[in-house]
C-alpha cells in the first residue's frame, strides 16, 4: 500500500503496481472527496455517482498529471467540476429558478431520516443550501475542508481576493439564516 502522494504517482506509472497505487489513492481520498461532493449534492446516491465518475477520470488522467501541482488540489478540481456538471445537467432537465433549486435542496436535507430542525448542525445544512453554487463551494472548502485561499485558488481558478470576498458573503448569509430561523 502506498501512503505518500509521490509514491502513489510513481506506483501508477509502473504497470505492475498501477492498480495498487490507484486503490491506495482511492482509499486515501475517498472520504474527503465524498463529503466535498455530498455537501453540494446532499443525496448519497447522487454523491456516489459523481464520486465514481471523479475516480474514473482520475484513472484516465493520472498518467498525464503534472507534478508541479499538488495531487489533492487536482483531485478536488476534478470533483468540483464533476459536481458543477451534474448540477448543470439537473438544471437543464428541470429548468428551475435559483429559488426553486434552493428549495429543492432544502427539502432533500429535510428528507434525511436523521433530520432534526432544532439541531444547529442541521440548520447549518439548510443555510448552506440558500447560497449560490459558487459561494457554496467556497464556503464548504474553507469551512469544512479548511483549505487555504491559495489552494482554493488552484482548485477553482479564481483569485484569492475574490475567494475571500465570496467566503465573507457566504458566512454572513449563513449566520443571518441560522440566527433568524
Amino acid at each position: 500500500m502506498f501512503e505518500e502522494d509521490t509514491a502513489i504517482l510513481l506506483g501508477f506509472k509502473v504497470s505492475a503496481t498501477k492498480e495498487l497505487a490507484y486503490t491506495s489513492l482511492v482509499k486515501k481520498y475517498q472520504e474527503k472527496l465524498y463529503w466535498h461532493i455530498r455537501r453540494m449534492l446532499v443525496s448519497h446516491e447522487d454523491t456516489n455517482d459523481v464520486l465514481q465518475n471523479t475516480f474514473i477520470k482520475v484513472w484516465r488522467g493520472l498518467e498525464n498529471f503534472r507534478e508541479d501541482s499538488q495531487l489533492f488540489t487536482w483531485l478536488y478540481r476534478i470533483a468540483t467540476n464533476e459536481c458543477l456538471s451534474f448540477l448543470a445537467q439537473q438544471k437543464r432537465k428541470g429548468s428551475e429558478s435559483f429559488e426553486d433549486i434552493a428549495e429543492a435542496y432544502s427539502n432533500k436535507v429535510k428528507s434525511d431520516p436523521d433530520f432534526d430542525a432544532n439541531r444547529l448542525e442541521w440548520k447549518l445544512q439548510l443555510a448552506i443550501q440558500q447560497l449560490p453554487e459558487k459561494q457554496k463551494i467556497v464556503f464548504n472548502l474553507r469551512y469544512y475542508d479548511e483549505m487555504s485561499y491559495q489552494e482554493m485558488s488552484k482548485v477553482l481558478g479564481t483569485s484569492e481576493g475574490a475567494l475571500k470576498a465570496s467566503y465573507h458573503h457566504a458566512a454572513k448569509k449563513i449566520e443571518a439564516f441560522i440566527i433568524n430561523s
Binding site: 465524498y34 456516489n48 465514481q52 433530520f115 469551512y143 479548511e146 441560522i178
Partner: protein, 166 residues
C-alpha cells in the same frame, strides 16, 4: 491543508454561530460504503484497460459490416428476381397449319402417348382413344361394308390406298 484558525481573518470573529459549531456532518453514510468503494472503482476502471485492445475489434467490425451489407444486397437481388418473374403457367401454343401426317414419323412413342393423354383431357373421355372400341378383324363382316367405308377407314389409318386394276 492549513489550519483554519491560523488563516482566519479578523472578521471571522464576527461569526459566533459558525465558530461555536462542530464541523462534523450530520448526514450518515451507508455502512461499509468506504470499505467497498476501492474494489468497486477498480472493477469499473479495469474494462477501460481492455478498451485499448478493442481497436483491432473495430477494424474487424468494419469487415463484418461490409460482409453483412453484401449478404443483404444478395438477398434483396434474389428476392427481387423471384418476385418479378412470371409464375403463372404458360399457355401451350399449338402450331397451326402443320400437316400431322408429315410430322408423325418424327414423333416418338412417348410423344404420341403424351399427346393422346393430353387430348383425352382436352377432348373428353368419349372422344379419347381409350374409349374407342377396337374390333377384332374376325368380328368384322367385310361384306357388309361399302367401298366408301373401307376407303374412309384406310384414310383414317393413314395408309396409302392402292387400287388394283381389275
Amino acid at each position: 491543508m492549513e489550519n483554519k484558525n491560523e488563516l482566519s481573518p479578523e472578521w471571522e470573529a464576527d461569526l459566533p454561530v459558525l465558530g461555536a459549531l462542530k464541523k462534523a456532518m450530520p448526514q450518515q453514510v451507508p455502512a461499509g460504503y468506504f470499505n467497498a468503494l476501492p474494489t468497486i472503482m477498480l472493477s469499473k476502471v479495469r474494462p477501460t484497460v481492455e478498451e485499448a485492445k478493442t481497436v483491432k475489434m473495430a477494424s474487424m467490425r468494419n469487415w463484418m459490416r461490409y460482409a453483412a451489407a453484401a449478404v443483404l444486397i444478395g438477398v434483396v437481388l434474389i428476392a427481387g428476381y423471384f418476385y418479378t418473374i412470371d409464375k403463372s403457367p404458360q399457355p401451350i401454343i399449338y402450331p397451326k397449319n402443320v400437316d400431322i401426317a408429315v410430322m408423325l414419323p418424327y414423333l416418338s412413342d412417348n410423344d404420341l402417348q403424351l399427346y393422346l393423354n393430353t387430348s383425352t383431357a382436352i377432348a373428353g373421355v368419349a372422344n379419347s382413344i381409350e374409349s374407342n372400341e377396337i374390333l377384332e378383324p374376325a368380328e368384322i363382316d367385310l361384306a357388309e361394308l361399302s367401298d366408301e367405308d373401307l376407303m374412309q377407314y384406310l384414310n383414317e389409318q393413314n395408309k396409302p390406298i392402292v387400287k388394283k386394276s381389275s
